[in-house]
């Protein structure tokens, strides 16, 4: 592990003992892998080895929820992809050596002051508008005070009573394989704040080191209304937030890197009961499927206690999701409310937005996922196709560009979702990284539709285009791939094959009609794959069955 380096001041690796670690207010993320793939919550589910299949798992929860209702609210922290940190000019690069993305300001050295990066406001306004919120034209920053070694100033610059955006909502469609359905969840508030550093724990747990690279990185905290009712809905909510921030270009939304972190509050109550049950906070879920499973586990646990009459055992606490054991465990019990002694940040002026500023940002917003989904639906695509295509904005843009260039909608969707997607998946590439252009995909589709080439040849050309580029026209010409649609020419080839294979012809006519495939194959081979399959089969059958 890299040692802690502080520029310009005394270097002193700082020791922390494990007993101290549990007094932390934010969750500790245990990140190991890097993943740049974008996935929907359920697509991710399908790829994850699970102890319970998603369907039976959901069934179990559905049964539980016949008598009980789960109330779920989510606090999402989104790390903003600004060039520099929120209040200093340090860049933040995930995975850098500890304490190399730091300066006196984000280290909280005496005498330093924060100066707000205006991009943070711009991104917050974008997200506020995209979440249909009311924007506070006059907001401010506040200090949230607590002691922890990863918090260099002893307070976090955040927003308390006047968040930049409030009272919005988000809409999403549940995946069809889970029964589908459209959902609308309320957004309580969106506020700006700074991230804290990270503690690096030693192998044997005897000490910890402080890495301040992440300290001062801008965050948006998005708080949902308690409108969510299941692990699936929660995972889809988080996935939609991820999609949204990626569409807006404000964050990479990567859960494994901690760019998107969700703290979930779960309570249950018997159907019909008005007051909420005791709420439990769950942390440490670093994938959507983990969220789904952690929440469903927690719901079952709480319902179990209810049904045994032990609902007094449900206490206000923070529980950690243990991926290995597939369960939540107590992290710390909440004893009264923490007093963060918020007060207005005197080092920063108020945040004042003008109508013009907001209007300009509103005008700059591109089509958001929900609007896109509704548009694709109107184009006649199935919800499954809609969800696939809109999941990644680049894929959607590619699709849109392809149909803009005249490709038939369903065919364009199919090509993108099958062969292209499979290629991207195998090669771990994004759709922007391949040489195929929407123009050529459209060309390819119309060449197939117009009968210039067969679907089979189309596929060959596609892979050529993806890896080497070029145009459909040039490839067809260069490789002489134009489909043979002249019946006389095909008839000639059929005749040739029949003559060259008298033995098989005799067998066919003796009743072994399976051999039709053999003849078709031979003719296709002779045409170098260019014969129109329909015409070929039609003429072949006529000739085979002709009493000669």
């Amino acid at each position: 592990m890299a040692s802690v380096l502080f520029r310009g001041i005394q270097t002193r690796p700082f020791l922390l003992y494990p007993s101290a670690l549990l007094s932390r207010k934010n969750g500790v993320l245990f990140c190991t892998t890097k993943c740049s793939q974008s996935q929907t919550a359920t697509q991710e589910n399908q790829q994850t080895q699970m102890k319970v299949s998603p369907r039976t798992h959901t069934k179990k929860v559905e049964k539980i929820l016949h008598d009980y209702e789960a109330i779920i609210g989510i606090e999402t922290h989104v790390q903003l992809d600004t060039l520099t940190k929120a209040f200093c000019s340090c860049a933040y690069l995930y995975g850098s050596q500890p304490n190399t993305n730091v300066c006196p300001i984000c280290m909280g050295l005496p005498g330093t002051l924060p100066v707000l990066n205006s991009k943070v406001i711009e991104f917050a306004v974008k997200v506020g508008l995209a979440l249909n919120c009311n924007l506070s034209m006059n907001s401010k920053f506040d200090r949230k005070q607590y002691f922890y070694p990863d918090l260099p100033k002893g307070y976090q610059i955040s927003q308390f009573d006047i968040p930049i955006a409030t009272g919005g909502f988000i809409e999403l469609d549940l995946p069809t394989e889970y029964g589908g359905g459209h959902r609308k969840f309320g957004i309580t508030r969106v506020h700006m704040e700074e991230d804290a550093g990270k503690l690096l724990h030693s192998g044997n747990g005897s000490y910890s080191q402080v890495d301040l690279n992440r300290a001062g990185v801008p965050l948006l905290e998005i708080v949902s209304e308690p409108d969510i009712r299941s692990g699936l809905e929660a995972a889809e909510y988080a996935a939609e937030i991820q999609r949204l921030v990626r569409y807006l270009g404000v964050s990479n939304g990567n859960m494994q890197e901690g760019s998107l972190r969700c703290d979930v509050n779960v309570s249950v109550r018997p159907i019909g009961q008005l007051e909420y049950g005791t709420k439990v906070e769950i942390k440490n879920m670093n994938s959507f499927s983990a969220m789904n499973r952690a929440i469903d586990f927690e719901i079952s646990r709480q319902v179990d206690l209810y049904s045994k009459g032990e609902d007094n055992q449900i206490i206000q606490e923070t529980r950690l999701w243990e991926e290995g054991a597939q369960r939540t465990v107590t992290m710390r019990k909440k004893e009264g409310l923490a007093d963060y002694r918020y007060f207005p940040e005197p080092d920063l002026p108020e945040v004042v937005l003008s109508e013009e500023y907001v209007d300009n940002i509103r005008a700059s917003l591109l089509e958001l996922p929900e609007v896109k989904r509704r548009r694709y639906e109107r184009m006649g695509l199935s919800m499954q196709d809609v969800l696939f295509l809109t999941n990644d904005m680049n894929v959607a843009d590619f699709f849109d560009a392809t149909i803009e260039r005249g490709a038939e909608v369903k065919m364009a969707a199919n090509w993108i979702m099958s062969d292209i997607a499979a290629y991207l998946n195998n090669e771990k590439l994004s759709i922007n990284e391949i040489k195929l252009t929407p123009q050529e995909l459209a060309e390819l589709i119309s060449s197939i539709k117009g009968g210039t080439i067969s679907g089979k040849i189309g596929k060959e050309i596609l892979f050529e285009l993806i890896s080497n580029g070029g145009t459909v026209k040039a490839l067809i010409e260069e490789k002489d791939l134009v489909q043979i649609v002249d019946p006389a020419e095909i008839e000639k080839m059929v005749d040739k094959v029949l003559i060259e294979n008298p033995k098989q012809l005799q067998q066919y006519r003796g009743g072994k009609t399976k051999l039709q495939g053999f003849f078709a194959g031979q003719v296709m081979k002779l045409s170098k794959g260019k014969a129109n399959p329909g015409l070929l089969n039609k003429i072949l059958l006529e000739k085979l069955n002709a009493k000669g």
Partner: protein, 549 residues
């Protein structure tokens, strides 16, 4: 007569009244002034010469440019005095080893005929809560003992760019919390006028250093009067600029919404030149103002050019609430005499009332303590400063802070933490903010009707070391004259205006002039005319008077 209150100003005003009344259009001339004071003030050491204070900075510049003196000689002169007086005064926590080398560099520049910055060869003392990259910066606190910043404060950076020589770091009440400099974690500074007395605080080191001519000018910081009150106690000029005029970057925060870096000088001109050098917007301080900075000293003409009524048309308001109970009689007399002097110079003086004045003190202590409880959270022993090793995180925090902070700082952190706690916030912090708004409004009204407001800088002159150490409330009450100005964010200039009996040669009294936001130029202009026409007072402490005269 006035033997109990040895106030030469009073003498002078009385005398001059008869003297001047007949000839209204007469110009002030040095010769006249000398004659006047000689007749009245002969026995007083501080009045032995009546030449009005002249700019040390301009004198240095003149000697350098005319090759009369070398920068090294000038630096040595001050350093020698520093070494001689420091055992008694103890105004410095650290003296630079580079001062002579910096002076040599100036001399080389002169030899090469290179252009000199406006502060070339000027020795500047810097309060130790202002970061300097080449010297320790402790904020007067044991928790930052030997701490060396990675950067210069913007004000220091600007001084260096102007050619100034940073001579050392001056003593202060820990993190600026105190009014006597006795709360320093390291040493107690003495008042050069009477070493048994406090120099005031929290910028006591900076004020004492200028007073004892250990340096030419100095930087302090003013959160509730920390430049103005020690200026008054030590008989030097102290300027608290408008909030936002000078960048706070590099100033260790005490109460961020009140803190400003201020200036000390032995004359108004020097203070103006210093202020000009450090003022202006800074991208590293979001609360620094983008307003254009006027050349404060260019308006300060020499005495020969004054008209007989140079302040004609100036409306001066005397704050009634500052001359009542709890204010020493000698101080009141001096301020009244100063008011008469301003009147003599042509201004109209009226009494104004600031009804919210007395509310300012409690509001100030709530807001300042609240902000300090937050600002001092970073001193946790984790990243820098003194750490008390421990097996457990909470005791590491607790022990490091218990060991590093002094009692005054601990008290204010506790008060501030309490005031910001859930359930108390509305009753304390929020109400104090409301008072702050009231104070701002009443100043606004008063300054709409008057060009400047005047008051004492402190209710008393310098008191004995230890006198108020165990009575924090009495010490806090001493800030009554100054805290309101910080709450309103206004500029204020303090300049010596008279003496009260005490010590071997009397103890100086400071006059506070308060202006509208960003109106430093007017304050300095009025202050300069006041200072140059004030007769019979020489604010050079006896400790150094002999060596200088």
């Amino acid at each position: 007569m006035l033997s109990s209150v040895q106030n030469p100003r009073l003498f002078f005003v009385r005398c001059r009244f008869q003297f001047h009344l007949p000839s209204k259009s007469r110009h002030f001339h040095g010769s006249v002034a000398v004659r006047t004071s000689e007749t009245v003030m002969e026995p007083q050491t501080h009045a032995s010469s009546t030449t009005p204070p002249s700019s040390e900075i301009l004198t240095i510049r003149k000697s350098l440019l005319s090759h009369q003196k070398k920068a090294v000689d000038i630096a040595e002169e001050y350093l020698n005095r520093l070494r001689q007086t420091e055992p008694q005064i103890q105004s410095f926590l650290h003296v630079s080893e580079n001062a002579l080398r910096d002076a040599q560099a100036i001399d080389q520049k002169i030899e090469r005929n290179e252009e000199l910055g406006p502060l070339a060869g000027v020795l500047v003392g810097v309060k130790d809560n202002i970061c300097t990259v080449d010297m320790p910066s402790t904020g007067g606190s044991r928790i930052l003992e030997d701490y060396r910043p990675a950067f210069d404060a913007t004000a220091v950076k600007k001084l260096r760019e102007c050619g100034a020589i940073i001579v050392g770091k001056t003593n202060l009440d820990e993190f600026g919390m105190g009014s006597t400099t006795e709360s320093s974690g390291f040493q107690v500074t003495a008042n050069p006028w009477d070493v048994s007395r406090v120099p005031g605080g929290s910028s006591g080191g900076s004020a004492a250093a200028v007073s004892a001519r250990q340096c030419v000018v100095s930087l302090g910081s003013d959160t509730g009067g920390s430049v103005r009150q020690p200026a008054s106690f030590c008989g030097v000029v102290g300027m608290k600029p408008t909030y936002g005029r000078v960048s706070r970057f590099g100033l260790m925060a005490y109460a961020s919404s009140l803190d400003v870096i201020g200036c000390f000088g032995s004359s108004v001109v020097d203070t103006a030149i210093l202020l000009h050098a450090i003022s202006g917007h800074d991208i590293l301080d979001a609360t620094s103002s983008k307003r254009v900075v006027p050349d404060f000293s260019s308006q300060l003409t020499s005495m020969e050019l004054f008209e007989s009524k140079p302040l004609r048309g100036l409306r001066v308001g005397v704050i009634r609430e500052t001359l009542g109970d709890g204010v020493d009689m000698g101080v009141i007399s001096s301020i009244k005499a100063a008011a008469s002097h301003l009147e003599e110079l042509g201004s109209t003086v009226i009494e104004v009332s600031l009804p919210s004045f007395s509310l300012g003190l409690p509001a100030y202590y709530i807001l300042a303590s609240s902000e300090s409880s937050s600002n001092l959270s970073r001193y946790d022993g984790v990243r820098y400063g003194n750490q008390v090793a421990s097996d457990e995180l909470n005791s590491l925090y607790g022990d490091s802070r218990a060991n590093g902070f002094g009692p005054e700082v601990k008290m204010r952190i506790l008060m501030g933490t309490y005031a910001l706690s859930a359930g108390y916030y509305d009753a304390y912090y929020k109400r104090a903010q409301q008072v702050r708004t009231l104070v701002q409004k009443s100043f606004k009204t008063a300054l709409d009707e008057n060009d400047i407001l005047i008051s004492p800088a402190a209710p008393s002159v310098a008191y004995k070391i230890g006198e108020k150490k165990n009575d924090p409330l009495a010490m806090y009450a001493g800030d009554i004259m100054t805290v309101n100005v910080n709450l309103a964010g206004l500029p204020a200039l303090v300049l010596p205006c008279g003496f009260v009996e005490g010590g071997v040669a009397g103890l100086p009294v400071g006059l506070q002039m308060i202006g509208a936001a960003f109106d430093e130029e007017k304050l300095l202009k009025v202050g300069h005319i006041f200072e140059q026409t004030l007769q019979g007072c020489r604010f050079l402490p006896p400790l150094v008077a002999d060596s200088l005269s």
